[in-house]
């Protein structure tokens, strides 16, 4: 049986090496106003987008988004980037997302991934994990975890686009 699994793995990896960059998979989420959003249709008019997975109970996630929040206006002026903060809070803490976002004064677009479908489809192991999407909708860079200063690396990657 192991052989089967490994040949399957090999098959996958082979196909992977033939494929190109990846697009955002299609998952139906809700925004904070209750509107449905199809993640495959997320766009920023040809400019880069950042998708950051976070939760109200995750300290490094909040540090990352607060660090970006402090410089967000400058980033938008320089690069036109849009940040989408995807909350993986479940039923226990989902009602705490909107108050937290407002109290911090975040200007990000916030989506609710209560069932973890979007998280799973992007293979996120642990939060925070951040993805950079270029103007054509390709995922070009990703980073998991957050240490203060990582926001500069993200900006450098955005500026490369």
């Amino acid at each position: 049986m192991k052989n089967l699994v490994f040949s399957l793995l090999a098959l996958f990896l082979l196909s992977a090496s033939m494929g190109g960059g990846s697009k955002i998979p299609s998952v139906k989420l809700k925004d904070l106003d209750g509107n449905s959003v199809n993640t495959a249709e997320l766009s920023n008019d040809g400019k880069p987008m950042v998708i950051s997975f976070w939760a109200t109970w995750c300290a490094p996630c909040k540090k990352e988004l607060n660090a970006i929040h402090e410089v967000y206006e400058d980033w938008q002026d320089e690069t036109g980037v849009k940040v989408i903060a995807v909350s993986i809070d479940d039923a226990r803490s989902a009602t705490r997302v909107k108050p937290y976002v407002d109290a911090q004064g975040w200007e990000f677009e916030v989506l609710m991934d209560t069932n973890g479908d979007f998280k799973r489809s992007l293979n996120v192991n642990n939060v925070p994990q951040t993805f950079l999407i270029d103007g054509s909708g390709e995922i070009v860079w990703t980073h998991s975890g957050f240490s203060p200063g990582d926001e500069y690396e993200l900006l450098e990657e955005i500026e490369k686009l």
Binding site: N115, S121, L122, H143, G145, S147, D150
Partner: protein
């Protein structure tokens, strides 16, 4: 099992074939994690050592996507699983596999899937690999959108209860249907209304054969709920009410009472200010795929705990709360405020405060007459939102976040806990014996982040816990230095200086080193861990004391 693999290979080969036929590209992605731990003898902290001396938890997910098709699997290994990890994870094999098709207005999944109806009171199949929670459904799911704004989901399957080199599902079935209607999307002209209303309803039924000769058990147990979400400007309101027919189980000592669960939330928020209140009433709401199981065995549904989830060690790993499914009345209130820049309290950068209070108690249970019990097996009646005054848990916490300069940020937090360990059983002594009665604890935490260079940061967290019960007073100090984007070094010591038994006044030093590159992260940890709660996202499990080396590798591609 072979059957599944073969069918997956077929699906995958088809995907590859289609990929060659059309220009639409096949996408392969995945992730994996390896968590290996070695254990040392340590009689002081009563560390456990497994016979194998080492443990390994590992998994890899692979998803293949091609146009509207998707297929994936997860290979899991527990050789054996980490000490303290739930015992329903053993051996190596495929623990999850699915194929799905999606088109406008319809999505079909066969195999394993995770699903949640509303807040999860009727159904939540879910995974958390760090904690060892897994109750994927195995069967079919169909999601349709017959009209704009209306989503209807149907699920039918068995639930994963155990894993021993292969998925071991429940004997019985779980099936359910859920509808959610967004009035603003469904009714033309309502799109831009200031008031947004979403309605939802779900019905779930589980089947398990009656295997008891002494009782006449219901074989099909229905669980149904209705919910509403209203957003009006800065206000938002959520409520869900659920009821379940009699469901005699090991959890409720085989009584024939029906169950009730109610959740409610009201929030007002604007930029820089938010206030919210939550209420919850639970009566006899344990809902499992196998009525004989208890403890770590998964539930079909989810009853969220109404408490704030903390991340500091002394506040999160000692006295953390989980819902009591047999009965609980709980509420929570929270206020957040940001003092603006250039005001007396705001200073140059603004100051943020947050106050939070939560409390959970038992519910009133009025015994029924003997005649009533003999007639229908109902042992008590409980008035809605009643409390019997017995505190299960209470938590008051206050947080101040203040940035002093471009280089120095600080955060101060105070916590006050009442933790009823007769109910919660999460406060063991070194001997493993649980303390009785309430633990009253105060926790103080000061955190400073100091930017030493443009991409380097020093983080210091000092924590103190004061209590006359359990193990007495603790202090803990974390010193962490990070060099973005790759390196992270941390030293931690927890010291139980207030233990009433002198020889138990122990230190628990721990060091860690981590390297990250993109979505890959490798970390080593060496040192001692106390027996206590390990929590992720507010769900906790009890882990034993250990002393040793942990290697963690996570990656996604």
């Amino acid at each position: 099992m072979k059957k599944y693999i073969l069918s997956l290979i077929t699906v995958c080969s088809c995907l590859t074939f289609i990929a060659q036929e059309q220009n639409d590209e096949l996408q392969i992605s995945g992730n994996f994690q390896v968590l290996a731990q070695s254990y040392n003898e340590d009689s002081l902290i009563r560390a456990d050592v497994p016979d194998e001396l080492m443990t390994l938890n590992s998994f890899a997910n692979i998803i293949a996507r091609k146009g509207n098709f998707q297929a994936g699997l997860r290979y899991e290994s527990y050789l054996p699983s980490q000490l303290g990890y739930p015992t329903n994870f053993k051996g190596s094999g495929i623990g999850y596999r699915f194929a799905s098709f999606k088109d406008d207005g319809i999505a079909i999944t066969v195999g394993n899937f995770y699903e949640q109806f509303g807040n999860g009171l009727t159904l939540r199949s879910f995974e958390d690999r760090n904690l060892g929670l897994e109750n994927a459904l195995d069967g079919v799911r169909v999601v349709i959108e017959p009209i704009k704004g209306l989503t209807v989901k149907g699920v039918y399957g068995k639930m994963r209860l155990d894993f021993d080199g292969r998925i071991i599902n429940s004997e019985g079935f779980v099936r359910g249907v859920d509808g959610e209607l967004s009035l603003n999307e469904a009714i033309s002209g309502w799109e831009d209304k200031k008031t947004k209303i979403t309605l939802g309803a779900s019905f779930v039924s589980k089947f398990q054969a009656d295997d008891r000769l002494d009782l006449n058990l219901p074989e099909n147990v229905g669980n149904y709920s209705g919910r509403i979400n209203v957003i009006h400007g800065n206000w938002r309101m959520m409520a869900e009410v659920a009821e379940k027919i009699n469901d005699p189980s090991a959890d409720n000592a085989f009584i024939f009472n029906k169950g009730t669960a109610i959740l409610g939330n009201l929030t007002y928020s604007q930029k820089g200010f938010a206030v919210s209140g939550d209420v919850k009433y639970i009566d006899n709401y344990s809902y499992r795929a196998d009525r004989a199981l208890q403890g770590i065995a998964p539930f079909i549904n989810f009853m969220p705990a109404l408490t704030k989830q903390h991340s500091y060690m002394l506040a999160s790993q000692f006295y953390a709360y989980a819902t009591q499914p047999t009965g609980e009345f709980a509420y929570m209130g929270e206020v957040s405020y940001k003092f603006k820049k250039d005001t007396p309290l705001g200073g140059k950068y603004g100051t943020q405060i947050n106050l939070n209070y939560s409390r959970a108690t038992g519910i009133e249970k009025n015994r029924t007459s003997t005649e009533a019990f003999l007639e229908n097996g109902v042992t008590y009646e409980s008035p809605l939102f009643s409390s019997n005054g017995e505190v299960y848990f209470s938590d008051f916490n206050a947080e101040i976040k203040k940035k002093f300069s471009k280089k120095v940020k600080t955060k101060f937090t105070y916590f006050n806990f009442i933790y009823n360990n007769t109910i919660n059983q999460g406060a063991p002594l070194l001997t493993g014996k649980q303390v009785k009665g309430n633990v009253y604890a105060d926790v103080f935490v000061a955190e400073a982040n100091i930017k030493t260079k443009s991409k380097q940061n020093l983080r210091i967290v000092a924590q103190g816990l004061r209590t006359n019960q359990h193990q007495g007073d603790w202090v803990s100090l974390v010193v962490e230095y990070t060099i973005s984007p790759h390196w992270n070094f941390a030293l931690l010591d927890s010291y139980n200086f207030g233990n009433k038994i002198d020889e138990n006044q122990l230190h628990y030093p721990l060091g860690s080193l981590a390297y990250s590159e993109g979505a890959h992260r490798l970390s080593f940890e060496y040192g001692k861990r106390r027996a206590g709660l390990f929590c992720v996202g507010g769900v906790c499990r009890v882990v034993p004391a250990s002393n040793g080396l942990t290697l963690t590798l996570t990656s996604s591609f």
